[in-house]
Each structure stands twice: as C-alpha cells, then as structure tokens.
Symmetry: C2
Subunit: 137 residues, 2 copies
Amino acid sequence: MSVQITREADYAIRCILHLVGLDGGMSTVRNIADRESIPRSFAAKIVQKLTKAGLVESVRGVKGGFRITRSPEEISLLDVIEAVEGPISMNICVLDKKSCDRQPQCPVHPCWVEITESIRERLGSYTFERILRESGR
Amino acid sequence: MSVQITREADYAIRCILHLVGLDGGMSTVRNIADRESIPRSFAAKIVQKLTKAGLVESVRGVKGGFRITRSPEEISLLDVIEAVEGPISMNICVLDKKSCDRQPQCPVHPCWVEITESIRERLGSYTFERILRESGR
DNA sequence: ATATATAGGACTGATTTTATCCTATTTATC
DNA sequence: GATAAATAGGATAAAATCAGTCCTATATAT
Ligand code: SF4
Ligand code: SF4
C-alpha cells in the first residue's frame, strides 16, 4: 500500500474539485462532504487545512462556507496534496539527510532525490483546469 | 510521510546492493544485516521475500546463505520494491477500480493511472548497474 | 437572542509498519 | 550418526500512522 496518497489527500482533491466546479461560489462543509462522499467531520478538518494553505477561504457564521481563492489553472494536485500532507518525498533521506547516517556515501540517495523531483513536477503539471479539460467538462 | 517507500523496501535495496557487490558470491543474513545496518531478524524476513521473488537464491545448511541470481543491469529499484511491497500505485483506485464507486466518472482517476505508470517506469530505469555506475564504483 | 456556520484541539479505534521470537528443516563436517 | 550453522516460515507484539469523531469556542446573518 505504500507509495500511495492517503484518503485525506484524495478527499482534499475532491473538495477542491467541488469548489472549482462552483466557479467562485460558496459551499458549506456539510454540502461538500455530502456531495463528495466524505465523512463530515473529517471533511471539516480537511477544508481547514486547505484554508491555512491559502487554497480556499472561509466565511464564518450564518451564510458562511468556503470558496476557492485561485483559478483552476493555478491549482495543481501537488498544491492540494502538500496542503494536507506537507512536503512529499519518495524516501525519508530526501527531506532530511540526517535521518540516515549512510546518506553521505549512499549510491541510492541521489536516485530518490531525482525521482522525488520528477513526481513533484508531474503532480504540479496536473492543474484542475487540465483535469477538467481532459475529462471533458 | 505518505508517498514514501517503507523501511522494509529501503532495507531490501540495501540487501540487493550488498549481494550485487559480491559479484555472485554468497553471504549470510547475519552478514548482510550487520554490514547494511538492518535488524537481523527483519533482514531474514526480507531476503526470504527477495528469494520468493526470484531476485536472489538461498542455500540452506552450514555454508549456506544468499546470492544474487541476475546481473546488475537486470535488476531495478522497481523489481526490489515490488518484491517486498507488492505492486505499487499512487492511489488505491489504480490497482482496484472497484475500491471507489466514484471511479467511473472521476476526472482524477486517469491522472493516477498515468502518474503510477510514470513512476513505475522511472523506478524500472534505475538498474543496479546504473546506480553503481553513476555513483562511481 | 437565536440559529447556523467555521476554528481548533483532544481523543479514539483500526490498520500498518517495524520489528522479534520460536520451531522446523536442511546440510557440511567431525 | 551427532552436531553446529544456516535458512523457512509462522505467531506475536510494540509503535506509529491513518482515518475519523467529538466537543467547546467563536463569528455572523436574521
Ligand atoms: S540507505 Fe541511502 S537511500 Fe536509504 S535512507 Fe539511507 S541514504 Fe536514503
Ligand atoms: S475519487 Fe477518483 S481518484 Fe479518488 S479514489 Fe475514487 S476514483 Fe480514485
């Protein structure tokens, strides 16, 4: 199962997909969760993280909710995943060299640095504009 | 931490690196574990998996141990990782479409299929011959 | 005032990761 | 044949992470 994104990240992408679809309109957690099949209280945690990352903004109180802050071509899968999971990497030594004392001589370490960079690039290339365009909406 | 390979997979790569370095020679679990800084009993489990996957072969009894079965250009990081972790994918729906009932209409699903294939390709391109060559041995 | 929303932290159960340990089996050597 | 050194494989367990809930505080439209 490893090397997979978490349910939280998958849910976060659904949230953004939902809000992008509203074209700047607002939606409540209840709405997002129900429409995107996400447990309500879990969805609440997730949109909070998305808010802190600046991908969405929140309005409190009656008539409150969340709305997207950027246009679909300015948000990528990488943005959303890293908003909820933090910086991603293929091996622990990429983010923290000191985590492994073999790193200085390790012949595999550079591979993970390169593969991580390549994945981040690819995830970054999938903007929501592109995702929707390629799926035909 | 998600999207990372496990310690088990990292250890497995160290095991193969060790055996490749012996150029067809044999080594015991004790030897591999001690030289590659892997807990002994964990290393024992790992080389068993590598044996089942056909990457190494085992000899039982006194003077027994493990030796590599292929040349370094015929073993890639992908081979080793999938030997211990099974087939990898970036999201659950890639390996098992039925795991998510949104899959048929999901605009993101094709992204994960494509990204998974791209990662598998890149991991497959890192043979141990290449890893050693690029590290300068 | 009240009802409806988000903010945020504490908590929990389930699952996975990261091992350890034990018994059985194989085999070289004395 | 006995013995010592090795792998095979299953059972078990501690720790960490994941997935999700719950509760209180705060904001705001009506
Ligand atoms: S052994 Fe090499 S690849 Fe593995 S964690 Fe250490 S530095 Fe990274
Ligand atoms: S929502 Fe889409 S991307 Fe996420 S698991 Fe389901 S099919 Fe896959």
